[in-house]
């Protein structure tokens, strides 16, 4: 995780690309496949330049078939390759669910360790870019009640590069969710040399002691904004970036909420049975006696993600988060 040596100012999209480039250089078994990942460089340019660097045998444009992208990856991963598969948008992961949860997530356990599936599935997720239907969804819970996948979600360029490298080196299947809304929103100093950020560790990105804002991915920045706004009203909010949803860093959550006594969980997926419910349940199990107020959930509504014109009605905002924080303080 050393940040020594040279570094560059990169966006999340560039950091993702660099992680793939580094790991492909490091291990000849790593290959990238998906729709338009080759000459087009991916519809978000996250694989830009890879086919030029590694050729069409390691940067594979596939036919338009998500179940094939994952099913082929299962076959390859179980026989020695390390596929990094891209699903163009998380909204298009459904056709691949049978291969993801029915096989990739099960192969190690099914064979009691004889075969494993060291594969990474990258997918841009979440709202904020005003696209057509099915391009804004956050389907992380598909992978959270059904075991076998590690689930990683970076919120910044440094973590994006380090977590993706860690995911590619991981011996188990990893779902790598990329916050498309902030792919290019900002740049950060990122070490030029390869490094990893450990999977399974949350990070406090903003210290506070009255309430804990728990989030991941694109919502971390919104929580940050909310915390800044609240600070001006002398409300001290801690912001916890989970970074990994499975395995979850329960200790980090318990430590922070035990300190603050209040929690607001923020995510883009619909509220009901979202991962916020799991986190609220865990807090109830581990911090009941420290809780000053019910855990609040600021999430998407229980509706279909709206088309562009109504997107603002759906996504959690700084103001909704701040309002929830005040409810916990006024409880």
């Amino acid at each position: 995780m050393s940040a020594a040596g040279t570094s560059e100012r990169l966006t999340i999209a560039q950091a993702v690309r660099d992680a793939m480039r580094d790991e492909m250089s490091r291990d000849e078994h790593v290959l990238v496949l998906g729709e338009d990942v080759g000459i087009d460089g991916g519809v978000f340019r996250a694989t830009d330049g890879l086919i030029e660097a590694f050729g069409p045998e390691r940067v594979i444009d596939t036919p338009l078939a998500e179940s094939a992208i994952i099913g082929m990856s299962v076959g390859m991963a179980a026989t020695g390759m390390r596929p990094v598969a891209e699903i163009q948008f998380m909204g298009f992961v459904y056709p691949a669910i049978n291969q993801l949860l029915g096989h990739a997530a099960r192969m190690r356990n099914r064979t009691r360790g004889r075969l494993s599936v060291p594969m990474v599935v990258r997918m841009p997720y979440g709202g904020g870019i005003h696209p057509p239907e099915h391009h804004s969804e956050s389907y992380e819970t598909l992978f959270l009640n059904s075991p076998g996948f590690k689930v990683v979600v970076p919120s910044n360029p440094y973590d994006a590069k380090g977590l993706l490298s860690a995911a590619i080196r991981d011996e188990d299947p990893v779902l790598f969710m990329e916050p498309k809304r902030i792919y290019r929103a900002f740049r950060e100093e990122v070490p030029s040399e390869p490094y990893t950020v450990p999977i399974g560790e949350a990070r406090v990105v903003h210290e506070g002691d009255q309430v804990t804002l728990i989030s991941w991915g694109a919502m971390v920045r919104v929580c940050h904004d909310a915390a800044d706004m609240l600070a001006r009203e002398d409300i001290s909010a801690e912001v916890l970036d989970l970074r990994t949803l499975n395995p979850l860093d329960r200790d980090a959550i318990v430590v922070s909420v035990t300190k603050t006594g209040r929690a607001v969980v923020v995510h883009e997926a619909p509220r009901t049975n979202g991962f916020g419910g799991e986190i609220a349940a865990l807090i109830g199990e581990h911090c009941l006696l420290h809780l000053e107020a019910p855990v609040q959930r600021v999430a998407g509504w229980d509706v279909i993600f709206p088309l562009a014109k109504n997107e603002h009605l759906y996504l959690p905002t700084r103001d909704r988060i701040a309002a929830a924080v005040k409810q916990t303080l006024e409880f």
Binding site: V43, P63, L64, A65, H130, H135, L307, N310, Y314
Partner: protein
């Protein structure tokens, strides 16, 4: 016999009007001059409608838009062969045929501008909404066909999709099911050579898409998709067979996507300008116009009148779009179920309370 043939069949390609506008009279469908001018007018209207959307998008008044430029003949031709009772199940690049099947033009604009009301078509319009998940709509084509068959309606389901969509498992299951249940479904592939940056030969190793029909025991045919007469001839044959109990048909219409995949795409990253130019030369509209002029069915003057009329029509559609009242924020909740459940009612109040404040 030890090594025997257990299956043998051929796949044909139909061409009637060549790029220079020369017609094969023997195969030409019966069309009155009025009908031909009407087809031409429809295609010109589609193109103007499409170009306007691109302009609106550049002005920030439209969302992501998938252009249909170059694919007008497939859509005008199939529409011409359809009748009132038929259902259209589009993918997402079928604005042209959707217009011709009765979807109000400003609604299609509204949909791509990010307004769900754009998919709320009039009751009597038998058109499914845009299906974004590639290939998924093929299955609906089979289901709608079965529905029509079970109810004894003498009508057909016409499902559209692109060349890339034939790689999805749903394409296979839909055509296989249509074969088993002999549904009155016509599957039309708009083979425009590209699926974003993936050319057809990276999409499948089969020489044609029409031959995939052999896998399902149903008829399949390839047509020059830039030849509106060939499209009409193939569509009529397939639709009449469907409506008269003859089962499904697969039609591969070979055409070309002259524009970018969508306004979010830059096709110059992955294809040669020369290829695009080559296909510009096969323009379906130009081709029909050449034919009409050679037959004395069309002239400069009529063209001038039409261009003006169409430009005015398109502007009216933009007007209608802009006259749509703002959406009610509650809409995102109220259409989830026939009746609003308690938890959604509560969320709706939370959400709209915020909005109004």
């Amino acid at each position: 016999m030890p090594r025997t043939q257990v299956y043998s069949a051929v796949t044909e390609r139909l061409e009637i009007l060549d790029p220079e506008g020369a017609l094969d009279e023997a195969l030409a469908p019966v069309l009155q001059p009025e009908e031909i001018r009407h087809l031409y007018t429809d295609m010109v209207r589609m193109r103007a409608y499409d170009s306007k959307a691109l302009k609106l998008q550049r002005q920030g008044r439209m969302g992501t838009w998938p252009p249909i430029r170059g694919q007008e003949a497939v859509q005008a031709g199939v529409a011409h062969a359809m009748i009132d009772g038929d259902w259209l199940i589009p993918a997402f690049r079928e604005h042209g045929i959707m217009l011709l099947r009765g979807v109000p033009a400003h609604l299609i604009y509204a949909y791509w501008a990010g307004d769900e009301r754009g998919s709320c078509y009039p009751e009597d319009v038998r058109v499914f909404p845009v299906a974004v998940p590639v290939g998924s709509q093929w299955q609906h084509g089979t289901g709608v066909g079965l529905s029509l068959k079970l109810r004894g309606e003498p009508a057909a389901a016409v499902a559209f999709g692109g060349d890339g969509s034939t790689s999805e498992g749903d394409f296979h299951e839909a055509l296989n099911g249509a074969g088993v249940f002999q549904t009155p479904t016509v599957f039309v592939i708009q083979n425009n050579q590209w699926a974003i940056s993936i050319p057809l030969h990276r999409q499948t190793a089969s020489e044609t898409l029409a031959q995939k029909a052999h896998a399902y025991g149903i008829p399949g045919i390839q047509v020059d998709g830039n030849d509106v007469f060939a499209v009409i001839a193939a569509a009529r044959e397939a639709l009449e067979r469907a409506r008269s109990g003859g089962g499904p048909t697969l039609i591969e219409a070979v055409t070309y996507r002259l524009g970018d995949h969508t306004t979010a795409d830059d096709a110059s990253r992955y294809r040669e300008a020369s290829e695009v130019e080559e296909w510009e030369g096969r323009d379906p509209i130009l081709r029909l116009r050449r034919y009409m002029e050679s037959k004395g069915l069309w002239d400069e003057e009529q063209q001038a009148v039409l261009d003006e009329e169409v430009a005015a029509w398109v502007d009216r559609q933009v007007g209608n779009l802009e006259e749509m009242p703002p959406q009610d924020p509650r809409d995102i909740f109220t259409h989830m179920y026939a009746e609003l459940p308690p938890h959604l009612k509560q969320q709706m109040e939370e959400a709209t309370g915020e909005v109004s404040s």
